[in-house]
Symmetry: C2
Subunit: 346 residues, 2 copies
């Protein structure tokens, strides 16, 4: 018997369809191992720095110059940007329609100089470097008052939207708070208004008691499959204590725990689903701004909003039902997914 489960954070319902119950090997979508590409022509290789826009940030070996080899992680503007810092931030109309010029920042974080190293093989040092790069770019972009949200994500595998083989993350900063982020903030605010408690803290506390949907935990972090997962084998990584700001955990004493949590989640997914394509998404709290349409938007946000990282395996195809309704059919109950992920041998 299937059931609808309410995803309070995203304000939608997931249909957990046990009739269709799928075990890991029933999902046939894997990242192809042969996906290597031509290393010499890859713009993310040592020596090919001239092929990309100039670097915005990098962690480098001492004494190496920007836009030359020697970096461990390197951030650049996307060569084909969806939004650009050079575009003015104009709000306009066009007949009965509303538009905003494409202001923002679209950046590529080159995770590693190693063309052949993918996230499932990242070492602690690699994760540390990319998290520091994320943190640095968030703090830097937050200074620009026109930026209202900074979205960081990673596409793993072609089926998840990755276009260049060499491992990289992306950042898109926008002059509006995107709809899905706004929905989550409003849902967390509503919960807080009623209970004076953080929604995600409550979920985490319950999940740690129940243990059925927990994949992994360490001193500061927990990895679990949410009750109303929209995607099969969806995984959430967050803090066991209340934390609204991702940048605050990219430092001692939390950083090692964060690295362990993300690394474990990625490796367990990789092993269980045999290199599935996935999207990794960071949901962080937007920087405080004066929002003209809603001057109290940020009131108490540090109390009710809770950052997290989500991994969405792209092993089931989104079809006319999901795209049309916003509901999702999930053929693997999160309790099953968590058990598979917990029990797989690394």
């Amino acid at each position: 018997m299937s059931e609808f489960r309410y995803n309070r954070l995203k304000d939608t319902w997931s249909i957990i369809a046990e009739e269709r119950a799928k075990r890991p090997h029933d999902y046939a979508t894997h990242v192809h191992e042969e996906e290597v590409g031509d290393v010499k022509r890859c713009p993310f290789e040592y020596g090919n720095e001239f092929m990309t826009p100039p670097e915005i940030f990098a962690i480098r070996e001492e004494g190496t110059a920007p836009d030359t080899p020697g970096w461990k992680v390197r951030v650049i503007q996307n060569k084909y940007p969806a939004v650009s810092p050079e575009t003015p931030d104009n709000r306009e109309f066009e007949c009965i329609y509303d538009k905003v010029s494409g202001f923002g920042s679209h950046e590529v974080i080159i995770d590693t100089p190693d063309h052949f190293k993918h996230i499932q093989n990242f070492e602690d040092e690699d994760f540390k470097n990319i998290f520091i790069a994320y943190k640095h770019r968030i703090l830097e972009l937050s200074k620009d008052q026109r930026i209202r949200y900074i979205h960081i994500f990673k596409n793993h595998g072609r089926e998840a939207g990755k276009s260049l083989v060499h491992s990289h993350s992306q950042l898109i900063a926008t002059p509006m708070i995107p709809k899905a982020i706004d929905t989550q903030i409003n849902q967390c605010r509503k919960y807080f208004m009623e209970k004076e408690r953080c929604l995600i803290c409550d979920e985490v506390k319950l999940e740690l008691e129940l243990k059925t949907r927990i994949v992994h935990e360490n001193e500061y972090f927990v990895v679990y499959c949410p009750y109303a997962s929209l995607y099969p084998f969806e995984v959430r990584i967050t803090t066991k204590f209340h934390s609204f700001d991702f940048t605050s955990v990219v430092e001692k004493p939390f950083l090692d725990s964060l690295i362990d949590a993300v690394k474990t989640a990625v490796r367990r997914l990789h092993k269980t689903l045999i290199n599935p394509p996935f999207n990794m998404v960071l949901y962080n709290t937007p920087p405080k701004r004066e929002i003209p349409q809603n001057p109290t938007y940020f009131y108490n946000i540090e109390k009710f909003n809770h950052w997290y990282i989500e991994i969405l395996p792209r092993i089931a195809i989104l079809a006319g039902f999901e795209l049309g309704t916003g509901y999702h059919i999930n053929p693997t109950p999160p309790e099953h997914a968590a058990r598979y992920l917990r029990e797989v041998l690394l």
Copy 2:
């Protein structure tokens, strides 16, 4: 220069990214011609009716019995249903979470007995049959007061979520109004509350004046690429007059116009994008119900809600940006898409 365009109906923004401007042949995803499958084992063939659950509705040659050959269109319950009419409609809690048992109806509309005929080759008669089947099922399911929405869609091609090759549509009826439908209803209501006009009627009127985003029009219908299209080559098909109820146009004098509009849209997409995978979705007005949480939900709905059919080509991959933010990057401005679709030789 890219721009954000507000999609008022869906309350989100599309980034029309001209820097990435893509022409039809830049999209590489096509439905594979060799996708034929084993005809003899296909449950949707004449003579294989025993392989499916019993038929709920069919248009048949006179004198043929249910669940035997002779049908032109045939509706059955999905063998692996996401929701089921036999499940009770129970609203429950589980710890701090909310759930509803998987009540509803998950039906398959077998569009044609011809295994090799796909929607781009449908003749008027085929379209007529499936629209009559849609109408019949909507009217029938609307009688069940527990059903709050009837979602009809068609997945074309594996990349759009189609699992069986033989052409079919699907219907999923749910005991709640799905989030995306609810958003559209609320957006149309808000517009009506302010202007006492229908949002889609206003858009259609403007588009017919501008002509730049029009793909096709006939006596009663218009086919256009919406201003803030979320998907490249997204196409909307709707009435030039106000109409809140799809079933009311599946009859004279509108039916021929409807068939012409959908057929033209499908064939022009097929030719322009060389058999792209796509989802076709019917957005209809839900049957009137007493919604306890909102007793005035349906007040004036026949005035502000406007049904439409949407075709979403699946030629660009939804990645971590789209899934995380609800914003979409669309690399083909709808003005360009409409021109390509208008000018292609059929």
